[in-house]
């Protein structure tokens, strides 16, 4: 069992030693600092959030996505052809993102996330996974613009993001995770997701994961598990029907077991989490489980996120004792 994060980490809040990122962005907006200075503070914050994840007991971390405005803009602004439009709600949360709109042919212009990935690796005593917003989800959360429809946009994005994935592989990423929460909401995209998954993972020899959240994949599960990824991340908090799909979880695959609510401050008792791990262990060998929160932690105040990650590690320790 590997204790890990899904993606984002709260950018600000206690405990904090790095200079305030929030104040830095205000100063940037007011013209008092330049982009380079902001970048330096983001880098320091990245080091801090990696340290906090490690201290909380995570065995594989992410860079916390400190440099990401949101899961869509971060990639879209690095891809030629995208314009970034107005704010729009992210699924059913109270978090908003700026909606990308393709205004011309999309082209990969060079690595988007590699510099941030290298910084994270250099700052972390634990392995760091690389995260890419998947082509179906990025297409669904954008307007289709000059591509006309979601499928055409997703197919193009799969080509573009494949180049990004290859660059992250080149940078040494031991695991590349594709975020595809949109499949939970738009299950009719399953055939499209299958098609673009083959495109986006082409040439990858490193391990790959697909992560979903905010719901279940029950109605598409057998097809989903056939996709060319090693790890399948599921949200068992906001998608309890995911427990049912474990009955036919392929034994050669690995499970991302999202059992700690990333959208609520309540700290789950250890026993409750251990019970979830026990339940999963009936269907999936524990050495094939990536234990995590149900989603990224951007929806929580940082002080709650820290406590929750510590509790998750505690539950993992306890589960290893009692289920060994």
């Amino acid at each position: 069992m590997l204790v890990t994060a899904v993606g984002s980490y709260p950018k600000i809040g206690p405990p904090a030693k790095a200079p305030s990122l929030r104040a830095a962005i205000h100063r940037l907006d007011a013209g008092q600092i330049d982009g380079q200075e902001l970048r330096r503070i983001e880098d320091e914050t990245t080091k801090e959030v990696i340290q906090q994840q490690v201290e909380a007991g995570l065995e594989m971390v992410t860079d916390g996505q400190v440099h990401w405005e949101d899961g869509q803009t971060y990639f879209a602004r690095g891809i030629k052809g995208f314009a970034i439009h107005g704010l729009i709600r992210y699924f059913d949360t109270n978090t908003y993102y700026r909606q990308p709109v393709p205004e011309g042919k999309l082209e990969w212009q060079g690595p988007i996330a590699v510099e941030d990935y290298r910084l994270a690796v250099a700052s972390s005593p634990r392995p760091v996974k690389a995260v890419i917003t998947g082509p179906c989800t990025l297409a669904r959360l954008s307007q289709s613009g000059c591509y006309g429809d979601v499928a055409s946009l997703a197919r193009e994005l799969a080509q573009v993001l494949n180049k990004e994935a290859l660059a992250l592989q080149e940078a040494g990423a031991p695991l590349i995770q594709f975020d595809e929460p949109a499949i939970v909401k738009w299950k009719e995209d399953m055939a499209l997701l299958e098609e673009v998954s083959h495109t986006v993972t082409r040439g990858l020899t490193t391990r790959t994961a697909i992560y979903t959240w905010f719901g279940d994949v029950a109605s598409v599960a057998p097809d989903l598990f056939r996709l060319p990824y090693q790890v399948f991340g599921l949200d068992f908090v906001w998608g309890p029907a995911n427990w049912g799909v474990l009955n036919h979880f392929p034994p050669e695959k690995e499970l991302g077991l999202g059992i700690m609510d990333g959208r609520n401050t309540r700290i789950e008792p250890v026993e409750e989490l251990v019970e979830c791990i026990r339940r999963a262990a009936r269907h999936v060998s524990l050495d094939r489980v990536h234990l995590s929160p149900s989603c990224g932690l951007d929806y929580l105040p940082r002080e709650n996120a820290v406590k929750k990650l510590k509790r998750l590690s505690e539950a993992a320790r306890r589960a290893r004792e009692v289920l060994a």
Partner: protein, 324 residues
């Protein structure tokens, strides 16, 4: 109140700068709560005067004393704490209510404000409440075992508040449920909670929802236990009208004809066209006209400009109908 195309507002109006400054000063301990309240009373009177000058029919107090439609209620209820900072988008953060115990109400929350506002005008003033589904959805929950328990407990509190408003003389009570539009599949739960609030009320009841994908839950939408549905229409190109076309409802509908996220003051002609579209589907005695949503994010100038054109458009259509 006029019987043909009565006009109203959804709730909030922009706060004058002196309120924003005074709220900061209060937080810094530089002024007393009483001093802030003096200014809030002044601002309410200002907006009542504007609505009267515009010749609007059903008035609101403009929510000068509410920071946020959920936090305002949670701060005046028992069982709630307030969270650390959560990111909303970009560099914007807010604090979320947290249910930490059984929710309760010490005393009436909005009644004094309603009485004060009603005393300023001969026109009816709406009692304005946030609904149980929305309060729960926009809060963290560390106490209740299920969302449903949390929502139904809140419904009982909001009912008490609605009854207090009615006892004080309110003839119109609006219960806002904007969160429902983000999760239409929970319309049934929201409806049951709303039923608890409105049961036995003699007042004319309204619920406001933002634009959502209501096609699959249309029957539940029109069966909501209120007298009037207040719906965003203009910002979605009046798409919701198509759901009503061919499905007559005995509900009153209040149709939003001003996009509150647009800085532009819509020309009279454009609003007239929107109202005419509404009249293809609804009878003029059953159709209220209002902005899409609260106007608090617009400037006072934009707000008054938009409302003035809305009133001019309503006047023109009333003339065509031979009424008003």
């Amino acid at each position: 109140m006029r019987s043909v195309l009565p006009t109203t507002s959804v709730g909030s109006f922009p706060k004058p700068d002196y309120i924003t400054r005074a709220r900061t000063a209060l937080a810094q301990g530089k002024i007393s709560p009483g001093e802030l309240q003096e200014l809030e009373l002044k601002a309410v009177a200002h907006w009542v005067r504007i609505q009267e000058e515009l010749d609007m029919d059903l008035l609101v107090d403009g929510e000068m004393y509410r920071g946020d439609m959920v936090t305002y209620f949670s701060e005046h209820m028992e069982g709630f704490a307030i969270s650390g900072l959560v990111r909303s988008y970009g560099n914007r953060y807010y604090r979320k209510p947290v249910a930490v115990g059984p929710v309760g109400r010490r005393s009436a929350i909005t009644v004094e404000w309603w009485k004060h506002t009603q005393a300023l005008t001969k026109r009816p003033v709406k009692g304005m409440l946030t609904g149980p589904y929305t309060i729960a959805d926009w809060s963290f929950n560390e106490y209740y075992n299920t969302r449903e328990e949390f929502i139904m407990d809140l419904a009982r509190l909001v009912r008490e508040e609605a009854r207090d408003l009615e006892r004080a003389g309110a003839k119109y009570i609006q219960i806002d449920e904007p969160a429902v539009s983000t999760r239409p599949e929970e319309m049934d739960l929201a409806s049951r909670a709303l039923g608890v609030v409105t049961k036995g009320l003699g007042a004319f009841t309204v619920t406001h929802m933002c634009y959502g994908d209501f096609a699959k839950v249309f029957d539940q939408l029109t069966a909501l236990p209120v007298d009037m549905l207040d719906l965003e229409m203009a910002n979605a190109g009046y798409a919701l009208l198509e759901l009503f076309r061919g499905h007559p409802t005995d509900k009153y509908v209040s149709m939003g004809v001003l996009d509150v996220h647009d800085h532009r003051v819509e020309p009279v002609e454009e609003i007239v066209a929107g109202i005419r579209r509404g009249l293809e589907v609804f009878r003029p005695e059953r159709l209220f006209i209002d902005p899409d949503c609260g106007l608090k994010t617009r400037t006072e100038e934009e707000t008054v400009g938009k409302l003035r054109n809305m009133m001019a458009a309503v006047g023109r259509v009333r003339g065509e109908l031979g009424g008003g």
